[in-house]
């Protein structure tokens, strides 16, 4: 009983810590160096707020909320409203949008973007594990699909690093279409691979 409780507590702490660290790493990775042009500050603020609020939500997930919320003192009502806001808003989605936005403000750096993609997926998986209090073992069935996704991510990064055959928007669009077609093909085939 004691060992099981210790294991649950360890999962609780490590998954939350992993989510926070991965989120912070994603923001830093996408932000540095902070572009001087465009709404970089806004994107950085959005990403930071998303990661911080998501971390706070995970940290306060075990705080109980009274069933009966009538005639509560004002500080307690404010605290409950804060908890409610924290639990309802999609903070991680905001963080993802902010991070991707930050990344696109930089000049093309495909390998950097690929690493960011892997870190973002890891962040989302860690956040999910933390909020459902599950161990990493529950991700085992998805391992093959995740591996395929990483391969596609690397291929797309490679496509981004290839020199354009001819200057202009046409070749960039072609490379993009090739990448999307690759992903679509993977998405069509993988369900059957995953089922088997």
């Amino acid at each position: 009983m004691g060992a099981a409780a210790t294991r649950v507590a360890a999962i609780w702490v490590t998954t939350r810590l992993a989510a926070v660290l991965l989120g912070a790493a994603c923001v830093i990775w996408a932000a540095v160096p902070l572009p001087a042009h465009g709404p970089a500050g806004l994107a950085l603020a959005l990403a930071s707020l998303g990661v911080a609020a998501g971390a706070l939500r995970l940290a306060l997930s075990a705080v109980p909320v009274p069933e009966d919320s009538y005639l509560l003192p004002t500080p307690l009502r404010l605290w409950l409203s804060f908890l409610n806001t924290l639990r309802l808003l999609p903070w991680e989605e905001g963080a993802v949008i902010g991070v991707v936005w930050l990344e696109v403000l930089h000049p093309a750096r495909p390998w950097h973007t690929a690493v960011l993609g892997a870190a973002l997926v890891a962040y989302l998986l860690a956040a999910h594990l933390a909020e459902s209090s599950a161990g990493p073992g529950v991700l085992r069935p998805q391992a093959r699909v995740l591996a395929a996704g990483v391969v596609l991510l690397a291929l797309c990064a490679g496509a981004g690093m290839l020199p354009a055959a001819s200057p202009g928007a046409g070749s960039a669009l072609l490379r993009l279409l090739a990448a999307v077609a690759l992903i679509a093909a993977g998405a069509l085939v993988l369900p059957y691979v995953a089922r088997s």
């Binding site: 999609p90 993802v96 991707v100 990344e103 495909p110 690929a114 989302l124 529950v138 596609l152 992903i183």
Partner: protein, 435 residues
């Protein structure tokens, strides 16, 4: 969230019930979708294929998770370890799910009113066990359980709400060991020594030997002194009829320690104590517009019948008979047998009830009132309020004085100490029926 019918509404029957699941995307899936779509949008707008790669793992996960099997229904069994419990007693609630395939089940229990969880209120697994304790007597809904079935890839969640079986919570009986015994007991075998000779074990007196007396009962020292054979006689052992009377007209005080709480706990304790002594015990619950009664009876089950009858006064269970009218004169003889000891638990706040007590006393019933009033009007600064409070206190003292003048003992019980303490003066010697 709409409630689905309880899996076993009649209580702890282990038969399962089919519960429909409402499937929807999980938060995790929505996040992956956000990443995938936003990255694709950025890739299209910026014309940079590496951002399409950013979307790849998320979109692949979502696509692969599409083919997961999602059962439309699962079977849920909710089982209470007991359908009846006393206040503060622990009851286990077992939840079992079947038919979810390889989905993972999460249970979140929302306890009902006056039901306190002991330990966790959320758990994972096909079979879980929660522990609860009812905090106050009454028919209690143990609450609802929110069931969430996650598919293997945790991309979709099936939600359902299960209404749990109800629990009948009995007032926790107070402590009572000693009993008040009447001076005149009916001619029925029991455990109380009567004021007549019989076949008991308590010494009663000495009389002259008559043929037929047992040789072992000869009192040799007395025979030697008197020169004739003397035999010991023993007190007969009799039982009595006890009618517990609970005043349910007023429930003043904090819930949990109110006058009605104490009245029910005291009556439950008295029922136990007298039934343990083989007395016949009945109950009359007096309330607005009438009284609910249960004829005196014997046996262990009578305790539960009595408590059920008392709880019926609050409309919680339907047990016992009902007599309309504020006067107890309409009660049948079976409910209030002549010569019975009447033990009343009341805060003595209702004047009609006090009049009823006087009426019963004048009819010759032996009575004893346990005053369970432990609260007073709040102390306020205004002179009029203080005066009103003082008038109220004097009125209460007058009520108790008038009952004592009629020969009805009134003892105060604070609900915390054993009932033996306030009753000590009356458990040491028999109680007379007449003035």
């Amino acid at each position: 969230m709409p409630d689905t019918p309880g899996p076993n509404g009649r209580g702890s029957s282990p038969a399962g019930a089919q519960v429909s699941l409402r499937w929807r995307s999980s938060r995790h899936a929505r996040r992956l979708l956000t990443l995938g779509l936003f990255a694709l949008l950025v890739a299209a707008l910026a014309g940079r294929p590496e951002f399409a790669g950013l979307a790849a793992p998320a979109l692949l996960l979502l696509a692969a998770g599409r083919v997961q099997r999602r059962p439309p229904q699962i079977t849920v069994v909710a089982e209470l370890s007991s359908r009846r419990a006393f206040e503060g007693e622990r009851v286990a609630l077992g939840m079992t799910a079947a038919g979810q395939g390889d989905g993972q089940v999460r249970w979140t229990w929302h306890p009902g009113d006056e039901i306190a969880p002991v330990g966790v209120a959320a758990a994972d697994g096909d079979q879980v066990r929660f522990v609860l304790t009812p905090e106050r007597w009454g028919r209690r809904q143990t609450g609802t359980v929110e069931v969430v079935v996650r598919d293997r890839w945790r991309l979709t969640e099936g939600h359902a709400t299960v209404v749990l079986p109800r629990l009948d919570c009995y007032p926790a009986p107070a402590q009572q060991r000693e009993r008040v015994v009447l001076r005149r007991l009916p001619n029925r075998l029991g455990e109380h020594p009567a004021r007549s000779s019989g076949e008991g074990i308590e010494f009663f007196g000495v009389r002259e030997y008559v043929p037929g007396d047992r040789q072992r009962s000869i009192n040799w020292p007395a025979s030697t002194r008197r020169g004739r054979l003397q035999v010991n006689t023993f007190a007969a052992e009799r039982s009595q009829d006890v009618v517990l009377m609970v005043d349910a007209t007023s429930d003043v005080g904090t819930p949990g320690t109110s006058a009605l709480d104490f009245a029910l706990r005291g009556a439950a304790a008295a029922a136990r104590a007298y039934l343990d002594a083989r007395d016949r015990v009945g109950v009359i619950t007096y309330q607005w517009g009438g009284a609910r009664w249960l004829a005196p009876g014997l046996g262990r089950r009578q305790v539960y019948k009595i408590i059920d009858s008392m709880l019926a006064s609050t409309g919680l269970v339907n047990t016992g008979a009902w007599a309309r009218g504020s006067s107890l004169s309409r009660l049948p003889r079976a409910a209030l047998p002549p010569g019975a000891l009447v033990v009343v638990f009341s805060p003595l706040l209702d004047h009609r009830f006090v009049e009823t007590l006087r009426d019963m006393r004048e009819r010759g019933l032996a009575m004893l009132v346990v005053d369970v009033l432990n609260t007073e009007p709040p102390v306020r600064r205004h002179t009029a309020d203080r005066l009103a409070r003082r008038v109220w206190q004097m009125e209460q003292e007058a009520i108790r004085f008038s009952l004592r003048e009629l020969g009805v003992p009134v003892v105060h019980w604070d609900g915390e100490q054993p009932l033996d303490l306030p009753l000590a003066a009356y458990t040491r010697r028999p109680l007379g029926a007449h003035r």
